[in-house]
């Protein structure tokens, strides 16, 4: 614990728990959280779908969605060529309209981080400055079934290659078995591995894999646990397990970051990932964010979509708004 004791999250967790962040203390704390009524949660999420976003609001929403996308490729068949193609898409999402905003980041496997950075060239940087970040999945993604040493090596490797953001997975097995202390310590250790030599750190997204946690109560506890351990972002899914992101699960995670903000004043990000393909669906997520935590969260540092095919659907809708008619899949570029 000496190596991690200097980190703020652990100290803060100790203060909040009134003792070491061990299984017993964490269980008492997490099980004291308010429970979730599934029917009510899903009803509230369904309510967002009845919002009607038209004209100027729709145009603003579509641009916002693009700015919040982590353009993703996470296939065993990924090659430098595929990643360069993805980078080109991020640099120029719509060649027919240079005013189109760019996505927030590319999300790739750790071994392709250098290729992604190289392909982005001068556009690599902070999404807040209109540039594009590079995120790497790490910690034996997607299952997380490896020793801590391997997970940490995986993380350090990606950070050394220049990754701006690390998307780690939690050990769902340990979580479901009630070994909260282990999950906590792993996140803390990975967070530490995100630090670079100059003292700066890659931003840490913690993937809960909500499809494997199964219940909303478990999702709330896992979200809280990840934030306690120092997550900058909590993320729904790897995209490799169904169901991936759903609106009720994302709403629940937004409620957790809202509660954390009330308690500490600190803003944590949320990233739904996997399965969001249509603009209409993505706009519902924006509504959920705005009406739950507020519009302040609609920035790349606090909300992301993990998606690949979503971008082209948004571009089609964007073209339709400008021209008044639908074009078709041949009028947007594939990556």
């Amino acid at each position: 614990m000496n190596t991690v004791a200097k980190l703020a999250p652990t100290a803060r967790a100790v203060a909040m728990l009134g003792g070491d962040a061990d299984d017993r203390a964490l269980r008492l704390h997490l099980e004291g959280l308010s429970r979730v009524d599934a029917v009510g949660l899903e009803q509230r999420a369904a309510g967002f779908a009845t919002r009607s976003i038209k004209t100027t609001s729709k145009a603003a929403a579509l641009d916002t969605v693009i700015r919040l996308i982590d353009l993703t490729t996470l296939e065993g068949a990924d090659t430098p060529g595929k990643v360069r193609s993805l980078a080109a898409k991020a640099r120029t999402p719509d060649p027919s309209d240079p005013t189109t905003p760019r996505p927030a980041a590319l999300c790739v496997y750790g071994d392709l981080v250098a290729v992604a950075i190289d392909a982005l060239g001068g556009l690599h940087g902070d999404p807040d400055d209109g540039r594009i970040g590079v995120a790497a999945v790490a910690t034996a993604f997607p299952t997380g079934r490896a020793s801590l040493a391997v997970k940490l090596a995986d993380t350090r490797d990606a950070v050394a290659a220049g990754a701006d953001e690390i998307d780690m997975v939690i050990d769902r097995g340990a979580f479901l078995a009630g070994r909260y202390g282990q999950v906590f310590e792993e996140i803390v250790a990975v967070k530490e591995a995100c630090f670079r030599a100059d003292g700066s750190a890659a931003s840490l997204k913690v993937i809960l894999e909500t499809g494997e946690l199964a219940t909303y109560d478990a999702v709330r506890r896992a979200s809280w646990l990840a934030i306690l351990a120092g997550a900058d972002f909590i993320k729904t899914s790897t995209g490799k397990v169904g169901p991936a992101a759903t609106l009720p699960v994302t709403l629940l995670m937004l409620e957790v970051v809202r509660d954390w903000h009330r308690l500490t004043g600190e803003r944590i990000g949320v990233k739904p990932a996997g399965g969001i393909r249509a603009s209409k669906e993505a706009i519902r997520y924006l509504i959920a964010v705005a009406e739950t935590v507020g519009e302040a969260w609609l920035t790349p540092h606090l909300f992301r979509f993990g998606a690949s095919s979503l971008l082209n659907d948004v571009l089609l809708q964007r073209q339709k708004l400008a021209s008044g008619h639908y074009s078709g899949p041949d009028y947007v570029t594939i990556d």
Partner: protein, 490 residues
């Protein structure tokens, strides 16, 4: 704990959704409406009145007023239709008419929803997603009963009562019509129905639907007018009086029919307790409290107008509730993003203002959601009163508006005692994650409907009705059918 209530300034950012108005053109209103008697439109002999859009105060249509003679004419038409056609028709055939009406309601759903929002002031998302679908569901449900009356619980061959005089309120104009007409017709009765003075339009559109469905003349008669028309209907030669509305009027009706052979059902006011325990799923409980009192601008007889929250979570709960209320959108009922619409009438707005001012004068702490109120029309911002005691007027009297009175309790026993401490007993809500506690508390609440971890949910198969001053008789389900039947000859 950091407080972070930051209402977004209007006109900035994503949350200021661009207008998304539902088209008014889907409903074509006539300039004036007569009475619907014996399958035809006839003139009324009382002084006509206008019905207005409460959101803009614009005139919508001129409406005929039925005097005593008009009402007698309508009752006579209903009697003829009862004797000659409807009571003799096979149940299965009555069911066919009701199924046809249900389908027509679905086909004309958008038109009915727009008309309802125009005349009543309720947001289109409620008339579209709640009112009209429930209206169709009610007709479908009772259509299915029409040929199965032997199983209604009154033994074999139960008989209809005859002609029913029905008086309905302005809060759910078309839905209350469905609650009244569907079971009455399924059981073989004919009806004369008086819609509320401020919301007659959808009942008049329903008359149109009866014609379209080829319903035999006189089975459904619609007489419009003010309170005097309702009084005439109650005194007329009807066999059954069904009323939904205020307790004061309900009491008058009970007096008027006392000693006659008329059967009565009354669905009156309420002051429901919504009880939130400290182990409640908090975010969902907040949604439920919002839905309980701000649904339909609080114009709901079973509204959860008294929030009983466990003292240990009071401050945090109210804090969060206020934050949630800042996201409610008050505005044009026809905008698809409106959450809270207009108050139905100037008279009702006066009552809400008077009782709210009284609440403040009696020492309760008032908080209203920050929202932009339109210049014209009748509006009242969603309002919460804290530090309310059981003796406060706003904890005892039905306000029938978007005003929530918050009280606290310490133990389940105290919650039950406070919830039951009201002359009313229509509905109640319980919020807890613990099933055994919910069942134990529900068992001791004296209210007709008790919702657990939800509120304001309706289903045609579920009976609805009150204890004490909330009235008697049940509507909905098999019980609702029994209110329009008597046991057959053995």
């Amino acid at each position: 704990m950091t407080k972070d209530i930051q209402p977004q300034a209007p006109g900035t950012g994503f949350l200021d959704y661009a207008p998304a108005p539902e088209s008014r053109d889907v409903v074509r209103l006539r300039s004036s409406y007569g009475l619907f008697i014996d399958g035809e439109w006839v003139d009324g002999h009382g002084a006509p009145f206008t019905t207005i859009d409460p959101a803009t105060e614009e005139r919508l249509a001129d409406i005929a007023s039925a005097d005593d003679a008009d009402v007698a004419l309508a009752v006579a038409a209903a009697r003829r239709a009862y004797d000659r056609v409807w009571s003799r028709m096979a149940g299965g055939d009555r069911g066919k008419y009701l199924f046809r009406i249900a389908r027509l309601i679905q086909e004309r759903a958008r038109e009915l929803a727009v008309a309802e929002s125009l005349d009543n002031g309720k947001p289109i998302k409620e008339s579209r997603d709640v009112d009209v679908p429930l209206v169709a569901a009610w007709f479908f449900y009772y259509a299915g009963w029409a040929d199965k009356l032997d199983y209604a619980g009154l033994g074999a061959n139960p008989r209809p009562l005859g002609v029913a005089g029905q008086v309905i309120p302005w809060n759910f104009p078309l839905l209350m019509l469905a609650w009244k007409i569907a079971p009455a017709l399924a059981a073989g009765n004919t009806v004369v129905l008086k819609p509320a003075e401020t919301t007659p339009l959808t009942a008049l559109l329903f008359a149109d639907i009866c014609q379209q469905a080829d319903l035999p003349a006189g089975v459904v008669n619609i007489v419009t007018g003010a309170g005097t028309t309702g009084q005439a209907l109650v005194r007329a030669e009807v066999d059954k009086v069904a009323f939904t509305g205020s307790t004061a009027v309900g009491r008058e009706i009970a007096k008027a029919v006392a000693g006659t052979r008329k059967k009565v059902t009354l669905e009156l006011g309420g002051k429901a307790a919504n009880i939130v325990f400290d182990d409640a799923p908090m975010d969902q409980a907040i949604e439920g409290v919002v839905n309980g009192i701000f649904f339909n601008q609080g114009h709901v007889c079973c509204a959860g107008s008294r929030l009983l929250v466990q003292e240990s979570i009071h401050d945090e709960f109210i804090d969060r509730l206020k934050q949630r209320l800042t996201t409610l959108r008050v505005g044009s009922p026809l905008d698809k993003n409106t959450d809270v619409g207009a108050i139905n009438s100037a008279e009702q707005l006066d009552r809400i203002r008077r009782l709210s001012d009284l609440g403040e004068a009696e020492g309760a702490e008032r908080w209203s959601a920050p929202c932009v109120i339109p210049d014209k029309g009748f509006w009242f911002a969603p309002t919460i009163f804290t530090s309310v005691s059981t003796s406060s007027t706003i904890a005892r009297e039905e306000i029938f508006g978007p005003v929530l009175s918050v009280l606290t309790f310490r133990t389940p026993g105290e919650a039950i005692a406070k919830a039951n401490n009201t002359p009313y007993g229509l509905s109640a809500g319980i919020w807890s994650d613990k099933g055994s506690k919910i069942l134990a508390v529900a068992d001791r609440l004296r209210a007709g409907v008790v919702w657990a971890n939800t509120f304001n949910r309706f289903d045609p198969a579920s009976p609805f009705g009150g204890y004490k001053e909330s009235g008697y008789g049940r509507e909905g389900g098999r019980h609702g059918l029994a209110a329009y039947l008597k046991a057959g000859a053995r």
